[in-house]
């Protein structure tokens, strides 16, 4: 009975076949029964099937006895899962993105308080980098291929690159040929009613 149900729902359990794989290093044989009982396929399948990222590991994670993870850093486990499942390693880029955001917190007030070409150009580059990642995220969120089609999705991403490249060129040109970002903000703020 149980076997027939398992076979009938083999499709649904496909996700499960990946989970114990990502948690494999942390399972001993006895513990792996929790999840592996639903196994319908071998362990050597590629983790990423059709680019299908399953949230099931989180479920498995919750239903697993805590004792298994008592001596394991949970965030490290999660980090490892995500790293394995996303196919690409985004940790370095994430750190750069956050580092630039943190730099901008200090840089933007400094640029307006002490306008000079170095701060102006640094502001232009870092602001546009920040802008680029923001727009990229928006394009990827709202112009998903499933919603707007492959072509529009690609055009949206291309538009992000065109806009941010143009903006970076324009801002650097502005710093070079005009008063610069810092002085421009001061000029706007000096407007009298």
């Amino acid at each position: 009975m149980a076997l027939s149900i398992a076979l009938r729902h083999a499709n649904k359990f496909q996700g499960y076949s990946t989970l114990s794989k990502c948690l494999l290093p942390f399972y001993n044989n006895a513990a792996s029964v929790t999840c592996a009982s639903t196994h319908t396929s071998d362990f050597n399948k590629p983790l990423l099937r059709n680019g299908n990222i399953s949230i099931l590991p989180a479920v498995c994670f919750l239903t697993t006895p805590n004792t298994i993870f008592s001596n394991v850093n949970k965030s490290a486990v999660i980090a490892q899962n995500v790293r394995k499942m996303s196919g690409e390693d985004h940790r370095a880029l994430w750190k750069i993105e956050k580092g630039i955001s943190a730099l901008l917190v200090g840089l933007l007030p400094a640029c307006v308080a002490f306008p000079n070409p170095v701060l102006d150009n640094l502001t232009a580059i870092l602001t546009v980098a920040h802008l680029h990642w923001g727009m990229e995220a928006i394009a990827q969120d709202y112009c998903r291929p499933i919603l707007v089609g492959n072509a529009v999705s690609k055009v949206a991403l291309l538009a992000v690159y065109v806009l941010t490249t143009t903006t970076l060129g324009g801002l650097l040109f502005f710093n070079y040929s005009d008063i610069g970002i810092g002085k421009f903000v001061r000029a706007v703020w000096a407007l009298q009613g």
């Binding site: 917190v105 802008l131 928006i138 008063i179 000029a187 407007l191």
Partner: protein, 173 residues
């Protein structure tokens, strides 16, 4: 019961083929066959779920659009506004024929009035103050602090207060 078994046995003659004695238990086994449309297995998870007519996970519409959600989407909206200003400045520097002081002077020459200047500064400074303060809140989260429900609410109110103070300071500087 025996009638049912016999009828079932008659309806399934192919099972009898190769069997000397029909297994009545097997013949009377209740099996319901229902036509189930084969789901279209698309390229990815979203395709699959849409073809199955499944609701969107995590069911955004069942949640109240509370202050935390509003603050979250406002971060993106204000970021988009600031991005728009940045793009305007960058592309404007490329396509406009005159230097920027020309346009600033022209605006000043119009004597727009205190209210208009305040409105202009509000439109520029409000998104900046908000995105700046909430951005710091996000950076604090990124260090794995205040990632609880109470932490999220507490930092939200601190952020809103900071935004207000910063905005007032910027407007009347």
């Amino acid at each position: 019961m025996s009638t049912i078994c016999r009828l079932a046995g008659r309806k399934l003659p192919f099972i009898k083929v190769g069997l000397d004695r029909p297994n009545f238990l097997q013949l009377s086994r209740h099996v319901t066959l229902k036509p189930v449309s084969q789901p279209v297995r698309g390229a990815d998870h979203d395709d699959h779920n849409m073809s199955m007519n499944r609701p969107m996970s995590p069911h955004i519409s069942i949640y109240a659009f509370d202050i935390i959600s509003k603050i979250s989407i406002s971060h993106r909206i204000t970021g988009t506004m600031l991005g728009g200003y940045t793009i305007l400045l960058g592309t404007g520097a490329l396509v406009l024929p005159n230097k920027v002081s020309h346009y600033v002077d022209a605006l000043q020459a119009m004597h727009p009035g205190a209210a208009s200047i305040l409105a202009l500064k509000l439109v520029l400074a409000a998104p900046f103050a908000y995105h700046f303060c909430n951005g710091i809140r996000h950076l604090v989260w990124d260090t794995a602090r205040f990632l609880t429900l109470s932490g999220v609410h507490k930092t939200a109110y601190i952020m809103l207060a900071s935004t207000f103070v910063m905005l007032i300071a910027l407007l009347f500087k």
